[in-house]
């Protein structure tokens, strides 16, 4: 063991940290996908120009070169998770967070920082309900109730500069395992931490490592599953974009623990920015000898490659993902053999999710004991959730496992938009399950969710209000799984298609009363007769819909009504004779002449002719026309 090289890391850390400490202030502009879409790169350019004009602009290169130099740095960061309020700009060390920033705000932001120190109130966060103004990021209710561990660096560090990561203690965990721990001890540490796979299944991570470690084989692989296919989940994207080195470090530690010298990161093709940041990160890590041959002089070699997915939801399943890396159709195969025994090219392979790898370095540095104390019984640690849909604050959150759904939706999420009533939450993507009002106090952890027929999945939380039709939502999910079924198992391939047909009939107003039992039978058959997770869980939306919203389904197929008023084929319009003044406006606005009547007397709608376009509703000055 070459001590000098292992010490090199601490020297870099010290040297770079001293450089960063000489920054007077730092302006961080979010460069996650969401903020970039809202123009954050223009905001970055404007802020930089403004700081340059003030003669204060410095970069880390300058700070390291010129002793005693100081100034203001302007940098890009990864995703803060509060995408809806973007572009976000954070000022350090004060911790002030500006929201919805435009390039034209740059001068004011810089003036506030350099001159009077008072933040620009106009672009601070204003609470949508109370109107209260919050200056500091951690005081905003959205952040205040969170505990960010995996997302710790997201929004804080520049993901394209390894020096920031190292100065913050990055790669310290890798150094520790290489110099102080045996592979067996690393596996033990992860087992003791109680960490469970963050990709959905919740299998104990340490056990998976240990099972791969004990395989006798000269060649093994580590694979990072970044095929985040669940619609409504984007934690993997945010982590890969916002803190790529954390993932690389976690994978290298896993490589050492199981005895692998090669790894693959499988990323969805829909995430170009994540791919680019990973490429940069791998190059930088190799440059400093933190990846590649003889890492930190320890004799341990570890090489990483990126594989871009080509668009197939089923590839999130580990055996399908392996087939895809091998260049085949991404179809699952029966287990056993498990990937730990025969995985990529038949070699023992460890596959973990992005978020799982993001937790590794902290566990090694702070210890298994620290980690196991966070969260709930048998559900250690924190979990990220992507909270979206009809909720006031959408974004990416991280809370200890066991936090209640109510806290996530109402305290962090800020409740339902537009003052509507909460109806349900879809958790864990299309094959997850649905939680209703009665579950609001249910702890969000692997086991509690399983007990009510749902699952954490990747951690998508799509909030739905009273205006959502659950039958239409079930149809929407079935359409997704039917499209994504790989076609290998007949129950899944044919069953999802037939279930979709039955649900389609219901929303088209052609449902049959016998469908209620038929779809239940079919759903159970698909669940029991499919090989992989996709098929086994594809009927979940149907089963939970039938369990919690059966009335709504019966209303569609028996009474031919959509209680939420969403399904247009089941909509009908009625004129309230009490309110109608016979002004003829509706009759004139109707494109198919379905409305008739005598002037100054209540009009009526011919339901046969009506095409349910809703034009009459808008034209009526007396609000006399209602859906129903």
């Amino acid at each position: 063991m070459n001590k000098q090289t292992a010490n090199q890391l601490s020297q870099w850390k010290k040297e770079w940290r001293q450089g960063f400490e000489r920054e007077k202030a730092r302006i961080l502009v979010c460069a996650g996908t969401g903020c970039v879409a809202n123009g954050s790169l223009e905001v970055y350019a404007a802020l930089k120009q403004e700081v340059v004009a003030r003669g204060e602009y410095v970069t880390i290169d300058v700070l390291l070169e010129e002793e005693g130099k100081t100034g203001v740095a302007v940098a890009n960061s990864g995703c803060h998770g509060f995408c809806e309020m973007g572009p976000l700009v954070r000022v350090e060390p004060s911790g002030v967070l500006y929201t919805k920033v435009k390039a034209t705000d740059a001068a004011e932001i810089v003036a506030a920082l350099l001159d009077d120190g008072k933040p620009v109130e106009r672009i601070l966060y204003h609470h949508p309900l109370t109107g209260e103004v919050y200056a500091k990021e951690h005081e905003i209710p959205f952040y205040h109730h969170q505990q960010r561990t995996a997302l710790k660096h997201c929004g804080q560090l520049d993901p394209e500069d390894i020096r920031e990561y190292v100065a913050d203690g990055g790669y310290e965990a890798l150094r520790k395992v290489l110099t102080e721990l045996t592979p067996e001890a690393v596996c033990r540490e992860i087992i003791d931490s109680g960490l469970r796979g963050r990709g959905g299944g919740g299998f104990p991570t340490g056990r998976k490592w240990e099972l791969t470690r004990i395989e006798q084989n000269a060649k093994k692989y580590v694979v990072c599953n970044g095929d985040e296919g669940d619609p409504g989940a984007f934690m993997d994207r945010s982590l890969l974009e916002g803190d790529p080195h954390r993932i690389l470090e976690g994978m290298a530690i896993a490589g050492y623990a199981i005895g692998a010298d090669e790894g693959y990161i499988y990323v969805r093709a829909e995430y170009p920015l994540a791919v680019q940041r990973l490429k940069t990160a791998i190059k930088e890590a190799e440059h400093y000898g933190l990846l590649g041959q003889n890492i930190l002089g320890s004799g341990f070699n570890f090489q990483l490659k990126i594989k871009e997915g080509a668009g197939a939801f089923v590839c999130g399943e580990e055996t399908a993902l392996i087939a895809s890396i091998e260049g085949k159709r991404g179809m699952p195969s029966p287990k056993p053999p498990f990937p730990a025994q025969e995985g990529l090219w038949g070699k023992p392979t460890l596959i973990n999710n992005v978020e799982t790898f993001a937790n590794i370095a902290e566990i090694i540095v702070k210890g298994a004991d620290w980690f196991s104390k966070i969260g709930a019984e048998k559900n250690a640690g924190t979990k990220t959730f992507a909270i979206t849909g009809q909720v006031a604050n959408t974004g990416l959150i991280e809370v200890p496992l066991g936090t209640t759904l109510r806290k996530a939706v109402f305290e962090i999420g800020g409740g339902i938009r537009g003052g509507k009533k909460f109806k349900a939450v879809q958790i864990g993507g299309p094959s997850g399950g649905c939680l209703t009002e009665e579950h609001l106090d249910l702890p969000l952890d692997f086991d509690s969710l399983k007990s009510v027929g749902a699952m954490i999945g990747s951690g998508g939380l799509v909030v739905m209000d009273e205006g959502t039709c659950m039958v239409e939502v079930a149809r929407f999910f079935m359409n997704f799984t039917q499209n994504e079924s790989c076609g290998k198992c007949v129950p899944c391939r044919e069953g999802t298609k037939r279930m979709l047909e039955i649900l389609q009939r219901a929303v088209d107003g052609e449902g049959r009363p016998e469908d209620v039992d038929l779809i239940q039978d079919l759903a159970e058959a698909v669940r029991d007769g499919s090989l992989c997770g996709l098929g086994k869980t594809a009927p979940n939306p149907v089963l939970t819909m039938l369990k919690y919203f059966k009335d709504e389904y019966i209303a569609h197929v028996v009474d031919k009504k959509c209680p939420a008023g969403v399904c247009s084929a089941l909509k009908g319009y009625q004129i309230d004779p009490e309110k109608c003044k016979g002004c003829t406006k509706c009759a004139r606005s109707c494109p198919v002449q379905a409305i008739s009547g005598e002037v100054k007397k209540p009009f009526t709608i011919n339901q046969e002719k009506c095409i349910k376009c809703g034009a009459c509703v808008e034209s009526c000055p007396f609000k006399a026309i209602k859906e129903g």
Partner: protein, 176 residues
């Protein structure tokens, strides 16, 4: 398959033939001829031609020592690959859960109406626009989201997307 390699290129002179496969050869040589290189090769071919021409699939199969069926199997399995020519602007409307519940459908309808696409057709006859839905772009905080080529537009409405398409057309007109 309707045409084999030679049949498909009958009309081409031998220089055209060479030029057509020059780029493919370059891609194959760079990425290697192993089975695991197949998907990256197809991705680069698609980036080059905006779709996967049939004769090139057979060519890739021969170069990698695979049967054309297994290459077609892969090309048709993944959503990213298209066997039909795509438009200059590929408009992807996200229909993930978050976008769906916040109204992605009216946006899709507005786009289709605007570029005159009906039924199952995805690409306009003048090869200007391809309109498709995707399951999730991972920008759920901005729902509903539309991606045009590589650029993401958030919080879309039927009105907003029309303004964006107006601008695209204006830029196009200036270029031409």
């Amino acid at each position: 398959m309707k045409q084999g390699v030679n049949e498909g290129l009958k009309g081409d002179s031998s220089t055209n033939y060479q030029r057509k496969f020059e780029k493919v050869n370059e891609i194959i040589n760079r990425l290697g001829r192993s089975r695991s290189a197949l998907i990256p090769i197809l991705q680069e071919v698609q980036a080059e031609y905006r779709y996967l021409p049939e004769e090139i699939l057979t060519y890739v199969a021969t170069a990698l020592g695979l049967s054309p069926a297994s290459v077609f199997g892969v090309a048709t399995f993944y959503a990213q690959f298209s066997l039909e020519a795509k438009g200059k602007y590929v408009i992807k409307i996200c229909d993930g859960t978050a976008c769906h519940v916040r109204g992605s459908n009216p946006v899709l309808e507005a786009i289709k109406k605007r570029v005159n696409l009906t039924g199952k057709k995805h690409t306009t006859d003048d090869l200007r626009y391809t309109v498709e839905t995707v399951s999730c772009l991972g920008a759920c905080g901005l729902a509903p989201v539309v991606m045009i080529n590589d650029k993401i537009y958030g919080q879309m409405t039927p009105e907003a997307i029309n303004i964006i398409l107006d601008e695209l057309e204006k830029e196009d007109a200036e270029d031409e």
